[in-house]
């Protein structure tokens, strides 16, 4: 397998706060890779740094063999790499219809054949053409997240960066969106780099994962190892316990 996203000793510093401290991650083409940790562990920052949304102070990012410098990304990068954000309420323009949100990336990249692509993208995320001229406030949270996924897919990228794509959704809707993501990955042979605080979601979606704490990668393991309890770090074990849910101590 070839490495498609490679992050080496990456540091992101905001004033005197090190959000990311020499983190390294290698993602192979076609795999689904998870990043877990609590808030402030730097997992989202890593994703944002790849997309050019965080100031990188040290280290190297390589995507599909090309080294990326600074925060500028060219059009070719965005055609290959798209991102889905956590909050579908915040990531869609409130005054634009679904149609316009989907036209925008096509217009930026000078891609014709919009009509067919929009219908196909909507169909692919299970929304149907009836949703095309609605505004975000006329959609539920799950439907909005589907629009955000459609917007990411319409450029036919090969890598998707997913930043907590389901944590703002109800458990029942989460299952639908996770199924959708798995299906598009299978159909299009996509590479996923997925951030989540929910170990259940990450082990369900990803083959390999990295556990982050305080801006560092503290452990890399496969989902199978995690399930079998082959865990080296106490921090990962704590996350495992936390994900099992509440237990009364005396009981």
């Amino acid at each position: 397998m070839t490495v498609t996203v490679s992050v080496e000793n990456l540091s992101v510093v905001y004033d005197d706060f090190r959000a990311l401290d020499a983190a390294s991650v290698q993602v192979e083409a076609g795999e689904s890779f998870g990043l877990v940790g609590e808030s402030g562990s730097g997992k989202s920052t890593l994703l944002r740094a790849i997309a050019g949304l965080a100031p990188v102070s040290e280290g190297a990012i390589r995507v599909q063999g090309r080294e990326l410098h600074g925060a500028r990304r060219d059009k070719a990068f965005y055609r290959a790499v798209q991102m889905v954000f956590q909050d579908p309420y915040g990531s869609l323009h409130p005054r634009q219809t679904v149609d316009r949100q989907l036209v925008e990336p096509l217009a930026i990249h000078g891609i014709g054949d919009g009509e067919r692509r929009i219908l196909k993208a909507l169909d692919e995320v299970g929304l149907g053409s009836g949703f095309r001229f609605r505004y975000p406030h006329q959609l539920s949270g799950g439907q909005r997240q589907r629009v955000a996924i459609a917007r990411a897919l319409i450029l036919e990228p090969s890598i998707l960066l997913l930043d907590e794509p389901t944590s703002a959704l109800d458990a029942s809707v989460q299952a639908e969106v996770l199924n959708l993501l798995e299906q598009v990955r299978r159909d299009r042979k996509l590479t996923f780099l997925m951030v989540s605080h929910d170990l259940g979601v990450v082990t369900h979606m990803c083959e390999r994962l990295a556990v982050m704490q305080g801006g560092r990668v503290v452990e890399r393991l496969t989902s199978a190892d995690l399930v079998a309890g082959r865990i080296a770090e106490d921090y990962t074990r704590n996350l495992m316990v936390a994900s099992k849910g509440f237990r009364r101590k005396s009981a």
Partner: protein, 277 residues
């Protein structure tokens, strides 16, 4: 056992441009000094049920019930003054996100003292003392320091503990917790829940725990009400959850990805129109 709270045929209606939307449609239950969970998806009416009991239904909406009684007091006909006195003193509510539900321009300590002095005649010094004790009770390590901090200066977990302290300082008999840990990290969630659990048990409060997470609720409560489209579709003892009969309850249970269970694709809810009848 006399009921702490009796709810019979509770309805909450919202007038909208397209007609009246009934968010809660005839909910009935009684609560003793126990832990009751209310579970459902967004829009199932679970939060509005909690808010109606608290008397926090928005002014443009209409809440009605055949009976809504707290410890023998009829809440429907109660004058606003009586409801204000009950709210915070005998019935308290913990909200979801400390970032939005604490007063941003008032220090945490002053907010706790304010709650206490609204309901009890105590001196400033005594109120401060009790607020510090309460902060210590929610396991804040350095209460004197946190007392003077503002909400933006503390983490989410700390803010939520401060809110619990604020709600419990006047010694309520009924606590309504609306998604108290949904905005928190998984690791912090458990800490906050165990604090809440301990305080509820020690003080013998009645608790209504509102959440969309059926597994969490069932691990925390004695009894669970499952709501769909404004109605209770199933009531079940938390220990009997595995034998849930309603397909909606089973669906909610099964749709969560579980570590170690290899299910691709995940089972999804197949919503039947007759559930909403």
């Amino acid at each position: 056992m006399s009921a702490l709270l009796t709810v019979e045929d509770l309805r909450v209606r919202f007038p909208t441009r397209t007609g009246v939307v009934e968010a809660v449609r005839g909910v009935s239950f009684t609560l003793g000094r126990e832990r009751l969970g209310i579970v459902g998806e967004s829009g199932s009416g679970k939060s509005q049920t909690g808010r109606a009991i608290m008397g926090l239904t928005p002014p443009h909406a209409d809440a009605s019930a055949k009976q809504l009684a707290f410890d023998g007091i009829d809440l429907i006909s109660a004058p606003p003054k009586l409801r204000r006195d009950l709210r915070g003193k005998r019935i308290a509510m913990i909200l979801q996100d400390p970032k939005y539900s604490l007063n941003p321009v008032m220090s945490i300590g002053r907010q706790i003292v304010e709650t206490l002095r609204r309901h009890e005649r105590v001196s400033r010094a005594e109120a401060r003392e009790r607020a510090l004790d309460m902060l210590a009770a929610v396991q804040i390590r350095d209460p004197a320091r946190v007392f003077d901090l503002y909400p933006h200066e503390v983490s989410g977990g700390m803010g939520q503990r401060a809110m619990i302290a604020m709600m419990l300082v006047a010694g309520p008999e009924l606590l309504i917790a609306d998604e108290p840990t949904s905005a928190l990290d998984v690791t912090v969630q458990l800490e906050v829940l165990s604090i809440l659990d301990k305080l509820v048990a020690e003080r013998g409060m009645g608790l209504i725990f509102v959440s969309h997470d059926l597994r969490l609720v069932s691990s925390f409560c004695d009894r669970v009400l499952v709501m769909y489209a404004g109605r209770i579709v199933e009531e079940i003892a938390a220990s009997e959850l595995a034998n849930a009969r309603h397909p909606y309850t089973q669906g909610l249970l099964n749709c969560m990805p579980v570590i170690g269970a290899d299910r691709h694709p995940l089972p999804v809810l197949d919503r039947k129109p007759e559930w909403a009848l």
